[in-house]
Amino acid sequence: MRDMGAALANISQDQLDNGLRLVMAPDAGAPVVAVNLWYAVGSRDEPPGSTGFAHLFEHMMFQGSAHVPKNGHFEHLERVGGSANATTWFDRTNYFQTLPSHHLDLALWLESDRMGWMLPALTEEKLQNQRNVVLNERRERYENQPYGNWDERLQALLFAPEHPYHHTVIGAAEDIEAATLDDVRAFFRAFYVPDNAVLTLCGDFAPEDARAGVRRYFGAIPPGQSRSPAQGKAEAGFSTGETMRVEVRARVPLPRVYMAAKVPPFTSEEFYAGQVASACLGAGRCSRLHDRLVRGARIAKSAVCHLLPLTAGATMLVVVVTGLPGTTAAELEEAAGRELDDAASLDDGEVARSVTGMETRALRSLQAVGERADLLSMYATCFGDAGRAREDLAWLRQVGTDDVQAWAKTYLHEANRAVVRYEPAGAA
């Protein structure tokens, strides 16, 4: 039996008095360390009229704190060979740095300074600057890209307006423009508190010294007063009633269809069967979608499928099929729809092959300290136990073909489907 390697062998978990959870996975392989901090806040926590705010806030976390000047976070790290970044998603915001291991304390100092002392450094000028940066990020990655608004359209079809996943992480431009300093302060006080965070250290360090360092830098930060109530209504059921569809004629190079189903969340036991079904359908050249649409019928340039690890009541399985010239998006939808309808016929060979592929990919992704740390933060945040990451492969291996078939039959039918079709403007 293969395992997750020595790198996840010694996980220790701890909690400071202020509620900050600490996960450590030491590994002396290379003299590098990853410092990864998950805050359990994301776009799902944005009230109406404030879409995109969690992400704008993430940018403000790099604008300095009481003891670190604007851009000091990057400058301090880059000088010693460290890299830093952050991402905002539906359920969480993660901040991460990788650096030579003898500079671990530097990263702890920087992360703790903005967790405890971000507000004193806040100015209107910084907010105005980052509003412009984020609006340009929105233009570059969404508005100026072919198919750039697919997720906005797909989520709006799949989730009811009151569901926290109805809107995208990047949010609406007018909401981003409307954000104020008071919004930043309120959001910080509600969510950027030690008892709403998981700190994970991976790589080359001595656990006792690191634990002492974490206490030294984070220990004095007071816990939050009370968490804001969750936004919206996550209960949605796993049905759209009928296929929800929108057709878009736009400046795109090739016809493309995005199809999504609303399925049980990352935290459910059924998620494992879903992962296997998703891989059988759309991961690799032997998957159903590639084999039948790209290789067989030869109508698609590519055809893939993803299952997102979201937690608020439901998550999304997303199929993306890009057509070859001469095909239509309607044709692509029909062909991909047939594969979803037919997924209850997935067989033992397909399931075994997909699980083998997932095992190998999981191991490969763990090679980088940053990815290991992020995985542990995810499990600690979502399950309250980082050690659960080690059990993942065992859970996957226990998934039977009948589980996969039942999952596909229950969730991938046409009464649980949202579809966005793109047709090149000017095409007949």
Binding site: N71, F74, S83, H103, N129, R353, R361, V369
Partner: protein, 475 residues
């Protein structure tokens, strides 16, 4: 949670200054065993056993620069079409062969090389290596399969034409290198050249360009060197071929002063900007000092371009610069995408930063920061087997010295302020900046005209291209 609540911090901590560093632990680049098979093929093996994984890469010094006349894109398509089946396995059987053992197979073609790589659990490496050898040595280039890969390539060309960043890169290459020199044409070909390619072309290319005399097998992971060398000998030892890829001939046209080309992309909400000129080859003796110079200009988050255009002015999500290192001098470029209305001011700031950096050079502190970054981040670049194998393959492709990686941190730390400035002055020429702006021409041109872009060295000349498409042919 497993452990109970811990005691809180004892005593106050000095927050005002960054903490001192701990004891340095040195990084050693993994030692690779190098061998040469009797047929001339190089084999590099490095053991790294943190995970039960292995990666094998076959790299051949034949990339897009080896394309025959009027057959741009053949090297890439040929490499893709290897997956179309062998004398004993169909395309589908090959795919099953890899995926049944959880192996990921990937093909990459650059200007200088073709790489075929496979990553899997170490226990499956023998099977994966045998499939890799079969695929390279016994391809059939079946008509039907070849057409399938060709159709996908042609579709990818359409995608590039509508992607603002890809269009800007292709247009910039075109205006810097001209269409007569390969680097001036899109990597991977254009519709006209691809449409004319046939399986016979791929067969001829594979025969004339894939051979042991200029190929290396790189194997890394949880493996034994001796055993792996034996496996390499079994799979590749009897590979005979007189293949010899052609060298790139000719060069780019002489630079033509400062020019701005506006490439019309209807409906764009941003201007995708590229500016630069012909840079250096990978073999440049001052390549490392030049990396230091570039890091300060636009190679990291805290570099001058990004701090100015993003963090000071909010014009963009990011701005960067770089030198594309190839066997022949590739482009030096600055790239950013900005809101259309600020195209003029943004471009003026880009020009100013490039001029100031070339003229005034870096400060001592700049150089300390940049060398600290490049040396410190080095170990982080070899965490995965794919990264490690890729680095060894590049060492082969560009004939880097055997100790290049082992000495890299030392070499970069030794770069002085003068060396970095000298390298920058030698390879960055502000008066030759050739600029491409991909955007909505109706808005970009007024935005540029409003802004005074007349600079020392002469005004930039402006040309608008209503319907730009990269082409492979003279005309």
């Amino acid at each position: 949670m497993t452990g109970g609540p811990a005691n809180s911090a004892s005593g106050p901590v000095a927050r005002t200054d960054p903490p001192p560093s701990g004891r340095v632990r040195p990084f050693r680049f993994p030692e690779a065993t190098e061998a040469r098979l009797a047929n001339g093929m190089a084999v590099h093996v490095a053991s790294k056993a943190a995970f039960p994984l292995a990666t094998a890469v076959l790299v051949v010094k034949a990339g897009e620069a080896a394309a025959p006349a009027d057959k741009d894109g053949l090297p890439s398509l040929c490499a893709n079409a290897l997956e179309g089946g062998t004398t004993s396995l169909s395309a589908r059987q090959l795919a099953l062969g890899f995926e049944n053992i959880g192996a990921a197979f990937a093909v990459a073609t650059t200007w200088d090389a073709t790489s075929l790589s496979v990553s899997c659990l170490a226990e499956h490496l023998p099977r994966a290596m045998s499939l890799l050898a079969q695929l390279v040595r016994e391809p059939v280039f079946d008509d039907d399969e070849f057409d399938r890969f060709k159709a996908r390539r042609l579709a990818a060309v359409r995608q590039r034409a509508m992607d603002p960043a890809a269009l800007a890169a292709d247009a910039h290459a075109h205006f810097v290198f001209g269409r007569r020199f390969p680097y001036g044409r899109p990597l991977g070909g254009v519709a006209e050249t691809l449409a004319a390619l046939a399986p016979a072309d791929a067969r001829a290319f594979a025969e004339s360009c894939y051979g042991p005399g200029h190929a290396a097998l790189v194997v890394v992971g949880d493996i034994e060197a001796e055993e792996t060398l034996e496996a390499a000998e079994r799979a590749w030892g009897d590979w005979r071929s007189s293949a010899s890829p052609p060298e790139l001939s000719g060069g780019p046209p002489a630079a033509d002063g400062r020019r701005i080309h506006v490439v019309h992309r209807p409906g764009s909400v941003q201007s995708e900007i590229r500016t630069g000129h012909v840079g250096v080859s990978r073999a440049a003796p001052d390549y490392i000092p030049l990396q230091v110079f570039n890091l300060i200009l636009g190679g990291a988050f805290s570099s001058r371009l990004n701090l100015n255009l993003r963090e000071r002015r909010g014009f963009t999500y990011g701005a960067r610069s770089g030198f594309a290192a190839r066997r022949s001098p590739g482009p030096f470029f600055v790239s950013t995408s900005v809101e259309t209305a600020v195209t003029g001011p943004a471009l003026r700031e880009v020009f100013r930063e490039v001029e100031e950096m070339a003229r005034g050079g870096p400060t001592i502190r700049d150089v300390e920061t940049a060398t600290g970054y490049l040396a410190g981040v080095f170990p982080l670049k070899f965490q995965s087997l794919g990264q490690l194998a890729g680095a060894i393959a590049r060492q082969f492709v560009y004939d880097l010295p055997g100790a290049y990686y082992r000495r890299f941190q030392e070499s970069v730390r030794a770069v002085t302020q003068e060396q970095a400035h000298h390298a920058g002055r030698a390879h960055v020429r502000p008066d030759e900046l050739c600029t491409v702006v991909v955007g909505d021409a109706g808005k970009v041109v007024p935005a540029l005209s409003e802004c005074d872009l007349v600079l020392p060295g002469g005004a930039a000349r402006l040309t608008v291209h209503e319907d730009f498409a990269p082409s492979a042919f003279d005309g």
